[in-house]
Symmetry: C2
Subunit: 649 residues, 2 copies
């Protein structure tokens, strides 16, 4: 096969690739990071590059204008090399590396009455062994097991081979006085891990010496990690970072598509591991610094237990398990209940023999982020009929009480996270987070995160914008822009009808920030899918929307939603605002509780097993509910009495 030289203008070395190689693959080999938020499906247009020399074959030019193609632009994920080529890589969108949640680490309350002795699976025991002598030639391992039996009442300790290799020297170097870290599972029925030795450490330690664990929430967009002292239960450091997989797809579907390609699964696995391992480093440094004792540094390998929540796709990709079946009918996971595993097996940079506990999910689109979220929301323990929603990329919803639980996923898509919206962006510096429109002049006012010039609009900004546009008559209930309004803000733009929120001179990049009809349509679909989900869930157990006692909203994004506006666009059901509660990141909180307390861990198992999953794509009533929810606030205005009242006022 002929091979060609492909040069990229932003790196020194060209690469040699055979005919037919995708430009994205050539870029990867050359060490060029190209964003592929759609997972390489040619849908998003973010991987566009300019071919300066040589000809290429374009499989698709979707998202490129004829002028772009004329200028040599090509979608790298859809373009194959056919001869030597020189490629110009336009500046890639930088992810602003300051997450709101990473800056404002909340104080986490230790669950009251936490007691490592009763609640925790991990324990440390000090052992004093009788040294061997000519009268007592028992082997080291048996000597150790006897000490476990006699001094700690542990009769079935299993010791992995890597640790067996070190026992002899540890015992001898410490005069047969050692302490052991074990993970003891007496509640969870997983026969394989009854009493597992994780580490044997020199000398005895006081009961106050910390034992380290981490709770991790792997979101499609953001990964959050809490470093916890398992002795006191206290969270000693928090850290968040964008999931390193983002550049390979913004939603789970794009990730699955990317993972299903040759080598894609391995790449996504190493990307998420890199992010988590970086967060572990960061958290260890932060906690070490806080102790103020320079002699005492927390090292990643001091962490002996990790409890992980995440949607099913994230868990599959983390463990290197093919996720393709999640995306294809009949939409099943490889597994919902992950056996306990170890840091080494997973590739986490904690103690190699440290326990890794991936919490159980329910279905392809209702993962352990939801079961953990339900645990921390407490909805499985209340007599109130509760609607739970994790505002995130996937639109998972649960409805229930202590009597019953049902759930579904509405494939809302990431529109409210800024994807699929021309000027959408994540909630970072430069994002417009709230907008007000003058009902007379139709002139907007807005607030920008960080106070700088605006660069785009984030989710809460979009909700606010949609509500204002509707309530001031800029758009009608079907989302059409009224082009007859006497203002320069509305008009036909490059992408069709649009409303201009900020003129070029006010913005960071000198270009208008607008919302187009296509954007509005995407937002209506997203909110319509979520509300339709609410109704189908309610209907599935035969209750009406107004019978719902409270609504609990998880996800750090939720904190910034203006409830009034969210109801006005029909995203949230119309209920007294005081019954709507924003809980923040319920997934990490649930993982934290499961990390600390084996009874809570069992409770998640119970939540996962008793929750009924409703597959919306197989439910005819969903399509009907979705169609009637595509209007503002809804076709059936009676469902939104407060909005009706406001419109009349």
């Amino acid at each position: 096969m002929t091979s060609h030289k492909v040069s990229f203008d932003i790196v020194h070395e060209p690469v040699q690739v055979p005919t037919g190689t995708l430009l994205t693959e050539a870029a990867r080999l050359a060490g060029v990071e190209l964003l592929q938020p759609c997972g390489g499906q040619g849908r998003c247009g973010r991987c566009a590059v300019q071919v300066l020399e040589g000809t290429v074959r374009r499989r698709s030019t979707l998202r490129l204008s004829p002028e772009d193609v004329e200028k040599g632009y090509a979608l790298a994920c859809q373009t194959v090399v056919e001869e030597d080529a020189l490629i110009h890589v336009p500046p890639q969108e930088k992810i602003e590396r300051r997450l709101t949640s990473d800056l404002t680490a909340a104080t986490v309350t230790v669950p009251s009455g936490y007691d490592i002795q009763f609640d925790q699976t991990v324990r440390r025991v000090n052992l004093s062994l009788v040294p061997p002598s000519m009268d007592n030639q028992t082997d080291d391992l048996d000597r150790l097991l006897t000490a476990f039996r006699q001094q700690a009442n542990l009769g079935h300790v299993t010791i992995p081979l890597p640790l067996i290799r070190r026992i002899g020297s540890i015992l001898r170097e410490n005069d047969w006085e050692v302490s052991a870290i074990l993970d003891v599972h007496d509640l969870i029925d997983r026969s394989y891990n009854i009493e597992r030795l994780i580490d044997l450490q020199p000398r005895h330690f006081s009961d106050e010496t910390p034992i380290w664990g981490v709770a991790i929430d792997i979101g499609t967009t953001t990964i959050t990690l809490w470093l916890v002292n398992l002795v006191t239960g206290k969270v000693k450091a928090q850290a968040s970072e964008y999931n390193g997989q983002i550049a390979r797809g913004e939603d789970v579907i794009s990730r699955i598509v990317y993972a299903s390609k040759n080598g894609g699964g391995d790449e996504l696995r190493s990307l998420v591991l890199r992010t988590i391992n970086d967060l572990i480093e960061v958290a260890c440094k932060r906690a070490s610094a806080r102790r103020g004792d320079t002699a005492y540094m927390i090292k990643p390998e001091d962490i002996v237990k990790a409890t992980i929540a995440g949607n099913s796709t994230m868990i599959h990709l983390l463990l290197g398990i093919p996720a393709a079946s999640i995306r294809l009918s009949p939409f099943v996971t490889a597994l919902n209940h992950v056996p306990l595993t170890t840091g080494h097996e997973v590739g986490l940079n904690i103690h190699p023999l440290g326990t890794v506990d991936c919490l159980p999910g329910v279905a392809s689109y209702v993962g352990s982020d939801i079961t953990a979220g339900i645990l921390s929301s407490g909805m499985d323990n209340t007599s109130n009929i509760t609607l739970f929603m994790d505002v995130g990329t996937n639109g998972e919803i649960a409805l229930g009480s202590r009597e019953w639980l049902v759930s579904c996923a509405c494939s809302a898509g990431p529109a409210f996270e800024g994807a699929g919206v021309l000027n959408g962006m994540r909630a970072t510096r430069g994002a417009i987070e709230e907008i007000w429109i003058n009902s007379k002049t139709h002139e907007p006012t807005y607030r920008v995160i960080g106070g700088s010039k605006p660069a785009g609009i984030c989710g809460s900004g979009l909700i606010s914008l949609l509500a204002e546009l509707f309530m001031t008559g800029v758009i009608d209930k079907a989302g059409f822009i009224n082009l007859q309004l006497p203002t320069k803000r509305v008009g036909e733009g490059e992408h069709g009808p649009e409303y201009v929120i900020a003129w070029g001179e006010e913005t960071q990049y000198g270009k208008n920030i607008t919302i187009t009809h296509v954007d509005i349509d995407n937002l209506l679909r997203a909110k319509g899918a979520i509300y339709a989900g609410f109704r189908v869930l309610a209907k599935s157990i035969g209750i009406e929307m107004e019978m719902i006692d409270q609504m609990l909203i998880g996800g750090s994004f939720g904190k910034y939603i203006n409830v009034e506006k969210a109801i006005q666009i029909g995203l949230l059901p119309d209920m007294p605002w005081e019954r709507i509660h924003f809980l923040g990141n319920t997934s990490i909180l649930g993982a934290y509780h499961a990390l600390l307390n084996k009874t809570e861990r069992e409770r998640i198992e119970e939540i996962a097993s008793r929750m009924t999953y409703i597959e919306l794509s197989a439910d005819n009533s969903f399509y009907e509910a979705f169609m009637s929810a595509l209007f503002l606030p809804h076709t059936e205005l009676a469902l939104f009495p407060s909005v009706e009242a406001a419109m009349l006022s």
Copy 2:
């Protein structure tokens, strides 16, 4: 640190090493194999090399004459580099790669009534899963576990992560019809491995399709492997090879010394793994060929279970566990009972998740070669008082019956394997294996293995020689050579008094084959230690030597021992010859029985736990017994009535 160029005349590339590097290390880096039978202690002199250019520092010149040193000879294991040097490597002794036991594979009888269903831990089950649908969205893993429960009555199957990663594609590619290989332990109380899935294979198989296992005996000198069809119990191929560690030490002590050096343990581990993995390849090829069906090849990864016997040092080195404590008072192992592990963990080239079962030993010098040997000898099941001995490098002995078992190791050393004897060699082509001396002329006659010119004397030859020398008066009962005899065969040689068995012109290398006083002394010590062991064991339970009903001798070497001569030198106790039985390699036979039958496997566990180990180095009576056994046949001639009678005749 300064670095020097060291060149070896038998390889192209020189190596760069820092000042102070041992020549053996430099040789290793240069890819030069130097024999180090003593483990690099400077005792054996086999690693002598000649320094042609440059000066070196010799830590020890033991085993080198002043003339050797004059000529530039140096012991590579005791010599460090101080400047650039050119080294001549004399031709290394080649190990003749044809073991007797490898040539004459015996037919092994399958234990009567063997039934895979009842006896075997490994089993295959065919499963037919209900495919997922929109009405049945259970995840793959749960679907599989349900099938195990419903179709195979297996309710606690654990599945390792590497296999979980493959479940989805295996199920889908085979229309949800698969077969599973599991290891099910219902007798052995090791909670961690109740029902472990080893492999999931496409399609269904008939009950007759073979399932492959291996029994392995890791001897200090020789490794033997049997490839077994676990369905029928039949041994389908046998293979033996010298243990690749030999070049790094001939006995266990030398190996432990070598392993304790920097990197030595890793090197010895990979050497033994290489030998075993080669044997696995060989056995698979032999069994494939025998099936006569070229389409059906047995591959190493088809092997799903390996049962291993070996002395404690061999097992430690195989598993990468430090063995230093075995050698140092109070002589304890890191472990005698090895938890079940896997091919991947150990590094065996079988199925990565295949079970590896290292059989339990008793003490530092009574390993699982002995417990397995006792099992196959049946001495734990008889009412006869039985003396069991594994003729090998280490001189392990057991005494007992179904009522009681005691054992000891007499550190006999490898004299009877040819080490520590000037013209000693292993029992390969060219070894003198039997000798007769004319009692009048004192002229010898001998028989050589393979019928060629002699190259040295092997163990059975040495026993025969010692007996003949004694019975014909060439040596006295203390082993002194009678230099007054009227024959040119006796005289003062280069190494002191000697008897010439073959003149230079008759031998392979043109040099006399002799036995020296030093050699005889070493042999007396070896046989004395063994016989002293017998007596101490008997005494420990209060019986006399003549109360022993039978003697069972394991080890392939045993087959060639002439009983009469062995009694004449006092190596074996004087009892009617028909009560002495040679059993061949009892260790591999025991491993084979344990591989097949879980009840037999339990029996080894029971043998190991009820056997009392007597530490001879802590036993004053041993020294006494040893001193009186240093004579031919013994100080107390009354113990050897048949020899006394023969001497008088």
